[in-house]
Symmetry: T
Subunit: 68 residues, 12 copies
């Protein structure tokens, strides 16, 4: 069957700088073990607060990649 | 502990014919590496359009299987 | 009071063939006891898997009918 | 600015045959006036019942197309 | 009738730089043909991945504008 | 293809009197340019407050009409 | 077992006047056959449009009543 | 037609002890009049507070049973 | 930092007359202690039934006001 | 205006024992400063894991109380 | 890049005793192969009914763990 | 009772620069009166448009802090 099939995994990237950096962090980590990544979807944005300031940005992303 | 535990994975099946075929495609691909599949849930239905016609049906399914 | 009132009931139709057949199965069963059915809404699509293949399609439908 | 921008419109296709045909009907109608259609998303599936049988399938689809 | 009425349209802006730029891209494109834009709502954030890196940011925004 | 196709547009009606009036306001404005309107769905109800009192009712409605 | 148990049924009331009247219509119809009704929840508000005006208000309500 | 069809009803069980007991209470009440119950889904968990303490646990469950 | 910040609080207004009156009731009560209220959003509409008739309308509203 | 108005606040109770205990913990803490509490709604259930075991149960509850 | 990244997996734990035990069962099973588990979120609670009584509690949990 | 309890409040931060700045603005304002803030969750992202350009970014955040 030649129809491509994709798998979606869910990662939470973190960053002390921004949500954008947190998302990039999740994709970078995934690229260490997953190939053929095709798209991502932002599912949740949250973060931790320390001493009254945003300390860590956390982005939950679903990443889709083609299954060989 | 004898209580069965299941894992759910998320796949996106595709087909140029129908949503039904796209779902079957996802299950068929999963069966290559996963055993003891028990049920699936349709999470999303979408597709691509080319030259004003539906070109590809895409079905996101969550598949549940027993973890040994 | 002449304003029509409708009731909605929730059925789960099943089929070994397709989601379409499963929905038709639910409506057919409802027609045995309910009259004046007017519309249906698909609420959920799922199914069982046996031996690595889709074995049963299950469609949860809400059916609306006029209450006399 | 060279970044492509897409617009999403919402159509409800209908068919006396199947949900698949209803979705194709919506895309066909859109193709009469919209160009560069790229994808669709199924948002809702429902239908009418007449004399105890499904009479019309109705599929709400969101269609995305590139804005020139 | 003097009460203002607004219309909401749905656009998907894209950018190779950031979600913020993608949203601005959608608003800029809308401003070419729509007047009296008043607000926007972020409905979805996703993107494409190429060679293991985020390649395109995609933001679905609903834009509200007053109908004359 | 004889199957009717409908389009859904999203309007926000406003009124200083009531939500009902705001919804009617949206439908009345739509009727200036859209024909064959068939149904509406309330998607959101909100409003503005001035000097501690409700000043404006705002109703987001989706309006469906047949596309010729 | 002395703990009270409630059942929830779903009705769609209609009215040519207002959503409030449509809700009251649903409760009135339910009172013909159901006793011990205790509360209702508005689940959906929609309606039909005829000749460019709201013709019928439709309110889907879930009604809870104690089961003896 | 041999395909089984299921009906889902919605009950609210209550208990002064726990959510688990409230759910069991709903199932027990249903068993007085419904046969062939097959599964339940927890839809909502809430409760009443009296004198600053939880007084009653309330669990809304949807119960599925085969229709003969 | 000159950027305005708003706080949202959640109130449930009640009325024996209508949902509109219940919402106004919530805003009136809030105005006793909160200043600079700017908008409200309807989050839930429900009510109690006594002797087969709607006895009390209950509207959950989120009220936004500027924090000084 | 004699119609009662309620306020809803959101607390997260925690417990090393159970979700039930976590919910009771949130209500007990609220009772230190809030009077006339009337009901609660469970909005979210989650927890922390330490050394492969559930270490803390966390329940987000919305608590409603009458505003004098 | 030193920012920690987490992965979320979805398991369904079961128990003939309680939802709490079902959740613990899922975490225990995950601990056999996954390290550095940090939190869990309850996504769904359901169960099977046999002979008119709750026979099995089923809890869908999402488990987050740090990816090395 | 030694189990920590948290309260969640909802703020809307604004900024003429970015969503990130709007979120930081909300946290900064909260820090003036609230202590022991622990985390935040992004609930909504929207903004105003003036003269065809994004004029203000608005982020609704829920902020959790420990109650002493």
């Amino acid at each position: 069957m030649a129809n491509p099939v994709y798998k979606k995994i869910t990662l939470v990237g973190t960053s002390e700088t921004s949500f954008a950096d947190a998302a990039a962090s999740a994709v970078a980590k995934a690229s260490e073990t997953v190939h053929n990544m095709s798209w991502f979807e932002v599912a949740e944005q949250r973060g931790s607060i320390v001493d009254g300031k945003i300390h860590q940005y956390q982005v939950t992303v679903q990443i889709g990649f083609r299954v060989d």
